[in-house]
């Protein structure tokens, strides 16, 4: 009898890194057995609901809750006055500002939380909200950040001294009472000189409109205070459960060990669920006050109007180059509209996130960036919507500037990129605005992309189309969108990355069971990325046990090791690294056990797929399964029983995924309608853990990019009313509006990451937005267009065509 299992079969049996493992999450989701926050039901649970301001800027003269309180089933109506004695009427924001939990004398944006009704069920709560009478005195509304910086109207009286002085903000001096901070990077004077003396300079101002991550599940929580044991349990849609626990502890005074935060299944996050919102604080207070669990789940309008907008950057750029197209300098100024409170979710030292990655994929020797944050009467937020901190803004900026420079130089935009890419031999590359890019091979990716789409053929077709258009043979123009993006993800090194003082490391704890299966817990939390599938794959390869025998658990702060959560594509770069490192600790101990069992020296055994073998004698081995059993059940001199490990990983650097995208679209100049004929996406995310999941992430990120580029916005009128508060007007594309995408890849591993992985979830969004936008702009290049703002919805495209005289 022969029991010949080949090495290849043993590798396959693990289901480790690189294979298209089917997702373990899917069994419950496809059967309707996910467990999301709104699925949680506890005995006696009450419901909270907000009275919200219809005004964008108003003083509150009075709140009368008597009629609401008289309604059968209403337990309480909380206002700022009730929270003040607890010191909870304001709360700290992640950006070093503070935010009203409930309106304290005034409101600063439409939809702001004014009172919190607690009732026996959500129907009674909704009825009670209607019965709370609030008297407002409206104030002048500022919705334009440039106007806000000139206006006498003071939005935040709490940030102005009694003598009218302006105390410094969390990020230094303030220039005006509606100004939040100025943040700078790079060399101002040197950049000015380079640009002043350049052969060619292109200047452009672009607005990256306000939008919203809008996951299909809104934000919500269930707070349950167990007064007997003094323990608070908080279930919620939290992308960073551990950080939420610490924040709740800091603001409530409840000791951290008495707080258990649980993120159950999360129905998409995309940055919306990073922050702490008034609903969480009010629910906790309500549960403490009533002694029973309280649930709060926002509805879709509340979600779009109040929690976590994204973008809203006005960016002015100057880019200089030699006559033959070598870029010499880049200057960028941003006016950032942060709304009524600065609640941006960025690492503390980076009030404009990683906007200073705005030199992109290019070797730009000199650069300068300045960002001014401004208060307006809009909702607070400023989250990273499917991107690392402000990286979509940065990439959009540079990829548009490149196109504008190409026009200025009368050059092909693909060629202009090619001659300015950072070369492979320049990595690690120190960029002018401070970052050190870990690895890249941009030219290879670019050439592969252009070849795949027959770029020259496309340009020839486009030229013909322009001729046909001019000859009256067609009313459709053709746009070719190009983008080469470089992201900066995986925040991040604790030396410069923290949120509210919490270092941005992440963690993994592994426990191997005696029979050779395992559980691993991480400080991150999946919102659809498939962590339970992919982290088990990393471990399978690292520790030689089948992925199917490894349970991955996240989101319960009582059991999972401390970590900063999932956003900014940090799960694989940081927690994935911790997983590999913890796995290696397991392996190190397993090696000693194997050597003992095989009666050889530790150095005489080596790891081979799923076992340790005696060097030079592969027939002598112990499988990891055998080693696991021995670890618990055999007395081994000098080695304590058990097989567990924990790793807290502080990354030495960020990772820098990149990609090359091409979009081909046809544009009807009469209706402004767009038809995406082709979209090719090449992603290089370093080592690929699960190609199936990577592809899915790319499809999803591109679709969110399509939405943002072509219509998705949070728009306000002059009175500060939100014009896009439901899914009728807030554009989420359906299957009908979305094309099929072609995906491709190159692999340039990260040199500093234990498995070489860089992260991919956000790349397609970051690269997709400028690619769609460049295609629209490119379609009109032959008719003299330099730049038109997003979102490129029908009427704005029509307007562009109209202004170019294309309607006769």
């Amino acid at each position: 009898m022969k029991d010949e299992v080949t090495r290849e079969e043993r590798v396959d049996a693990l289901g480790g890194m690189g294979c298209k493992r089917k997702r373990v999450e899917d069994a419950r989701f496809t059967q309707g057995k996910g467990n999301y926050v709104d699925d949680i039901k506890l005995p006696g649970m009450l419901f909270g609901d907000f009275v919200r301001s219809p005004y964008a800027h108003a003083r509150i003269k009075s709140i009368d809750a008597s009629a609401a309180l008289a309604l059968d089933g209403v337990i309480a109506v909380l206002t700022a006055d009730d929270l003040r004695p607890l010191g909870l009427h304001w709360m700290p924001t992640l950006a070093g500002d503070k935010q009203m939990v409930l309106a304290d004398g005034k409101v600063l944006f439409q939809g702001q939380e004014v009172a919190y009704v607690v009732a026996k069920d959500r129907y009674i709560a909704a009825d009670a909200v209607e019965l709370v009478e609030v008297e407002y005195e409206d104030l002048p509304v500022l919705v334009d950040p440039f106007e806000a910086m000139k206006s006498d109207v003071v939005l935040r009286e709490d940030l102005v001294g009694e003598d009218g002085s302006l105390p410094d903000g969390a990020h230094g001096p303030r220039k005006h009472h509606n100004h939040i901070f100025t943040w700078e990077a790079g060399e101002k004077e040197a950049t000015k000189q380079v640009i002043d003396n350049a052969d060619v300079v292109a200047t452009e101002t672009m607005y990256y409109h306000r939008t919203h991550p809008c996951p299909l599940e809104t934000c919500g929580c269930v707070a349950s205070m167990d007064k007997v044991n003094g323990k608070l349990t908080l279930w919620g849609t939290f992308q960073a459960p551990h950080a939420i626990r610490t924040v709740v502890s800091l603001i409530s005074g409840i000791e951290e060990h008495n707080i258990r935060v649980i993120s159950p299944d999360i129905g998409g996050g995309f940055g919306n669920k990073v922050g702490a919102y008034p609903g969480y604080v009010c629910s906790v207070v309500a549960s403490i006050v009533t002694g029973v669990p309280v649930k709060w789940v926002e509805d879709r309008m509340e979600n779009l109007m109040t929690t976590a907008f994204a973008r809203d950057y006005w960016m002015t750029g100057k880019i200089s180059a030699t006559k033959d197209g070598k870029i010499t300098g880049l200057d960028c100024h941003v006016t950032a509209d942060h709304g009524g409170f600065d609640a941006c979710a960025d690492p503390t030292k980076f009030p404009a996130g990683f906007m200073n990655i705005c030199t992109g994929s290019y070797d730009i020797p000199t650069a300068y960036l300045a960002v001014d944050g401004v208060y307006t009467n809009k909702a607070p937020g400023g989250v990273s919507y499917r991107c690392s901190f402000r990286v979509t803004e940065a990439v959009y900026f540079i990829e548009r500037m490149i196109e504008v420079l190409a026009i200025e130089l009368d050059m092909d935009a693909a060629e202009l990129r090619r001659i300015n890419f950072i070369r492979k031999d320049q990595f690690p590359y120190k960029a002018a605005l401070g970052w050190e890019y870990d690895s890249g091979d941009y030219h290879t990716a670019w050439d592969k992309a252009l070849k795949a789409v027959d770029y020259d053929g496309l340009r020839a077709e486009q030229a013909q189309r322009v001729e046909d258009f001019k000859a009256g043979k067609t009313r459709k123009l053709m746009g070719i969108g190009l983008t080469h993006f470089t992201e900066i993800v995986g925040a991040g090194p604790v030396k410069n990355c923290d949120i509210l003082g919490l270092g941005m490391f992440d963690s993994c704890e592994i426990r191997i069971h005696p029979t050779g299966s395992a559980i691993a817990r991480l400080g991150t939390i999946s919102q659809g990325q498939g962590h339970a599938t992919t982290f088990a794959q990393i471990l399978a390869t690292e520790i030689g046990l089948p992925a199917d025998s490894i349970t991955i658990e996240e989101g319960d702060t009582d059991t999972a090791p401390y970590g900063l959560g999932t956003y900014g594509s940090r799960s694989t770069p940081v927690a994935g690294a911790a997983t590999a490192m913890a796995g290696r600790k397991i392996r190190a101990k397993a090696q000693m056990i194997a050597a003992y069992l095989l009666e050889v020296h530790d150095d005489d055994v080596e790891f081979d797929v799923d076992r340790f073998v005696v060097k030079g004698a592969p027939e002598k081995f112990k499988t990891m399964k055998e080693i696991a059993f021995a670890a618990y059940n055999q007395a081994i001199p000098g080695i304590e029983p058990g097989l567990e490990a924990v790793s807290y990983y502080d990354p030495p650097n960020m990772t820098y995924p990149f990609g090359a995208y091409v979009c081909v679209m046809d544009i009807d100049v009469d209706t402004g309608e767009v038809d995406i004929r082709r979209f090719y996406a090449l992603d290089d995310c370093g080592t690929r853990i699960n190609p199936m999941i990577i592809e899915g992430q790319v499809h999803g990120g591109l679709t969110e990019a399509l939405a943002v580029a072509l219509g998705q916005e949070i728009a306000y009128d002059d009175m500060g009313n939100v014009k896009t508060g439901t899914l009728m007007d807030f554009f989420l594309p359906t299957a009908w509006e979305v094309p099929n995408y072609e995906t491709d890849h190159t692999v340039t591993p990260s040199p500093h990451h234990p498995i070489g992985a860089k992260g991919v979830g956000e790349s397609p969004h970051v690269g997709g937005v400028p690619c769609f936008s460049n295609a629209v702009n490119d379609a009109f290049r032959a008719f003299g267009l330099r730049h038109t703002h997003m979102p490129h919805d029908h009427w704005r495209i029509w307007k562009t065509a109209n202004q170019l005289g294309l309607h006769g």
Binding site: K41, E217, I266, G267, G268, L702, L727, W736
Partner: protein
């Protein structure tokens, strides 16, 4: 609060009787009263389809139907399509082709797709995209959802052929 009314309906083959306010939205009846939490609440204005169930043979957004309207109706949710021992072909196909990520839209998506395939057992890709346009997914970009549904259609058809 208004007067409660007596409601009777069949949900996933089980007879249900209870008293409810007529304004109760069917999605709340299912989720809160009957603990059938597969259908989800996404947009509340009948745009996203996360709450899709089958009522008397029609795909319906249960956030936009009062329980009173469903009095006497036959309702099928994702929980009624298959069970752990015998999954619906679509449930298998979504797993096989990575037709889901966060899972929040998935119950509505699969429930709708089951009705689509009943009405059109051999849809083209375009017909799938058009027939699924009442369901929004924020994660997948639809490509693998479409793939899953087309694969399920093929599977159902070859099973049918084999049976003949």
């Amino acid at each position: 609060m208004s007067k409660k009314m007596h409601i009777q309906m069949t949900v996933n083959g089980e007879e249900q009787e209870f008293l409810a306010e007529p304004r109760e939205l069917l999605i709340h009846t299912l989720r809160e009263r009957l603990n059938i939490t597969g259908p989800h609440i996404g947009c509340e204005t009948s745009h996203c389809g996360a709450c899709t169930v089958t009522i008397n043979g029609k795909s319906v957004k249960s956030c936009t139907m009062f329980v009173a309207q469903a009095n006497g109706a036959e309702v099928t949710t994702i929980e009624g399509l298959g069970n752990p021992d015998s999954l619906h072909v679509l449930q298998e196909a979504f797993k096989e082709h990575h037709g889901l990520q966060c899972g929040f839209c998935t119950p509505g998506m699969i429930t709708r797709a089951s009705k689509l395939l009943e009405e059109n057992p051999t849809p083209s890709e375009e017909e799938v995209r058009f027939g699924m346009a009442g369901n929004i997914c924020r994660c997948t970009g639809y490509q693998n959802i479409v793939k899953s549904i087309l694969a399920a259609a093929e599977e159902l058809n070859s099973a049918k052929e084999a049976a003949q």
